[in-house]
Amino acid sequence: MNYEFQVGEETTTVHLERTGDGFKIGVGDATFSLKAEQIHPGTFVLLAGHRSIMAHAVKGDGVWHVSVDGRAYDLRLPGTEDHGGDSGDDGPRLVDGVLQTPMPGRVVAVEVKENDRVEAGQVLIIIESMKMQNSIVSPVSGRIVKVHKETGELASFGDPLVELEEEDPAGDA
């Protein structure tokens, strides 16, 4: 049986095959043989030769949250949305000109209005989350087409914050 997981942009195929008393597992080009037991939902004891590995894995929203030797990793199933787990991308997402809320919280300041020209890196909105003020900056230079949130409003993950029209990099405009 093959399984596919995505980390960032990269997709890895994992081949899993039951053998007599364990599993044969191929990850990319490497193959491992091991015994594996799920001793509690989400908790696995892996025995590879004499090596004992404690691993935990739970799935939520199409993402496998995995812990191996005290380090955590997020592995997405193909076709699910990247919530910025391991992708290294920690800015707000701009999808079809719409800037999405990167973290849930309350909008405490809206620094721009419709038709404003903004520079990449300019603060657009401040969201308070867990008593911390988080500045949401523009990922591009351009013009504000629409502001979706008002001061005081709650914002959930992925909510549209503002619509941006990116400046033509060639400078024709």
Partner: protein, 497 residues
């Protein structure tokens, strides 16, 4: 039987409620609409909803909290830390309503809450304060003359200041006049107030605080120091006791100063006197926290006392049953604060459901937690989830133990700061005891920015999860993709804390 209302939430409310139950007290939790299934509600005998999720509507809502005390007949109130813990008005309203406030008097709270007044009182009580100018005459010549007696390096600081604006550090008195002129100009344009002070500048100071206990008869002792120098943006993340920088002689002097500071304001109950410790062994009063501290467990582990039990006894009018000379430090204790902050992404808040939780255990390991498997971390409150506290015979044992325990601490579903904490306590500079306030900027300026490779074992565990998950659930065919919430949800039932 006495009944205690805890006006707080999270791990500290859980810890205090459990402590009160151990003393045989009745317990009342208060909770916001976002917290109805929180752990502190679960551990209390009674629970009262005090309002909407926003702190202003609930945990800062004195009317609702006092009403809850009245409705449940709670005769005592413990404020925890944060929220209303250092609000003199709550203490005085409790007094008026005939409710025992578990903490100091309203006047002690308000005196210590005013930095200028506190500094004056400490100076008069003989507690060392950072040498500095009064600054009544703002002419450059007068400030330079006033600063002559202060040993350099010197810090020029704007009175209205913040964010480093209007601040200058000078190595000697020769550069002072120019620095004062610059700072006055800068603060004038930044804050509309050009008033500046000159203070002694402490290079790489340590943050050392002393735990105080004082009973109603005025008997005051200290329970030694805690070193809290490792901070990220003024937020403590690792605390320990004893401090590697405090010798027995220095401990005795600082402890005496801490007791004098508490006595100067007629302090009752548990409190903490914070000092800055310079490299030359001079120490200066910073402030007094008039409440139970987040990091109180490290003191409990080395002193062998339960601070919450003693807070309740003192509030109940009991005297301290021991003297300063009876108190000894045994072994070493370290605490790491578990925050819902994703260290790989600039410590941004990490919210959501905790899908899996495994807390470390074993000899010398204590977890003070406010979470459980299935708990939903909300955006409304402080990101602290839990505290991991270890005890060891000595610092090296305690350090090894906390590394091991952090490896065992598994929280999945959100991204806590655990891997960062582990790297901090495993750093050679931590092992060497070089814990100063610039530890993190010095050794971890850019943690987590490098791309982290996912090991094959992680893919393996996820693949096994897909495969075994389906096998175990049974009712689903191999081709039908299970809804993750169906499977995870059913697993959580009865899985305990």
């Amino acid at each position: 039987m006495r009944k205690l209302l805890v006006a707080n939430r999270g791990e500290i409310a859980v810890r205090i409620l459990r402590g009160a139950r151990e003393m045989g007290w009745g317990t009342v939790a208060v909770y916001s609409e976002a917290d109805s299934s929180s752990l502190h509600v679960q551990v209390a005998d009674e629970a009262v909803c005090i309002g909407a999720p926003e702190p202003a509507a609930s945990y800062l809502n004195m009317d609702a909290i006092l009403q809850a005390a009245k409705e449940t007949g709670a005769g005592a109130l413990h404020p925890g830390y944060g929220f209303l813990a250092e609000n003199a008005q709550l203490a005085s309203r409790c007094l008026d309503a005939g409710i025992t406030f578990v903490g100091p008097s309203p006047s002690a709270i308000s005196t210590m809450g005013n930095k200028v007044a506190a500094r004056d009182i400490m100076g008069r009580a003989g507690v060392p304060i950072v040498p500095g100018t009064q600054g009544k005459d703002q002419s450059v010549a007068a400030l330079v003359a006033e600063a002559q007696s202060i040993k350099p390096p010197l810090l020029v600081k704007a009175a209205g200041g913040g964010g480093g604006k209007g601040m200058r550090v000078v190595k000697d008195h020769a550069g002072l006049a120019a620095a004062i002129r610059e700072a006055q100009q800068e603060s004038g344009s930044a804050f509309g107030d050009s008033t500046v002070y000159v203070e002694k500048f402490l290079e790489e100071p340590r943050h050392i605080e002393f735990q105080i206990l004082a009973d109603q008869a005025g008997k005051t002792v200290h329970l030694f120091e805690r070193e809290c120098s490792i901070q990220r943006r003024h937020q403590k993340i690792i605390e320990e006791t004893p401090s590697t920088a405090v010798s027995p002689q220095l401990r005795a002097r600082m402890g005496e100063a801490a007791v004098a500071a508490a006595k100067a304001v007629g302090y009752i109950n548990a409190g903490t006197v914070e000092f800055l410790l310079d490299r030359d062994g001079s120490f200066y009063f910073l402030e007094m926290n008039t409440r139970l501290q987040v990091e109180h467990p490290v003191t409990e582990l080395i002193a062998g006392l339960d601070l919450v039990h003693w807070q309740l006894r003192i509030a109940n009018g009991e005297g301290l049953s021991f003297d300063q000379k009876d108190l000894v430090q045994k072994g070493h204790s370290i605490e790491a604060r578990i925050y819902a902050e994703d260290p790989a992404h600039g410590f941004r808040p990490s919210m959501g459901k905790i899908l899996l939780l495994r807390e470390p255990d074993g000899p010398g390991i204590r977890v003070d937690s406010g979470i459980y498997e299935g708990y939903e971390v909300s955006p409304y409150y402080d990101p602290i989830l839990a505290k991991l506290i270890v005890w060891g015979e000595n610092r090296e044992t305690a350090s090894r133990r906390i590394i091991q325990a952090l490896d065992q601490y598994i929280i999945l579903g959100i991204r806590p700061n655990i891997p960062f904490l582990r790297d901090v306590v495993a750093h050679p500079a931590f092992a060497a005891g070089e814990t100063t306030t610039d530890f993190l900027p010095l050794h971890f300026p850019d943690w987590g920015r490098e791309a982290k490779k996912t090991p094959p074992e992680a893919f393996l565990a996820a693949a096994l999860g897909e495969a075994l998950g389906r096998v175990n659930i049974g009712s689903l065919s191999a081709t039908e993709a299970p809804n993750p919430w169906d499977t995870v949800g059913s697993w959580e039932i009865g899985s305990g804390l």
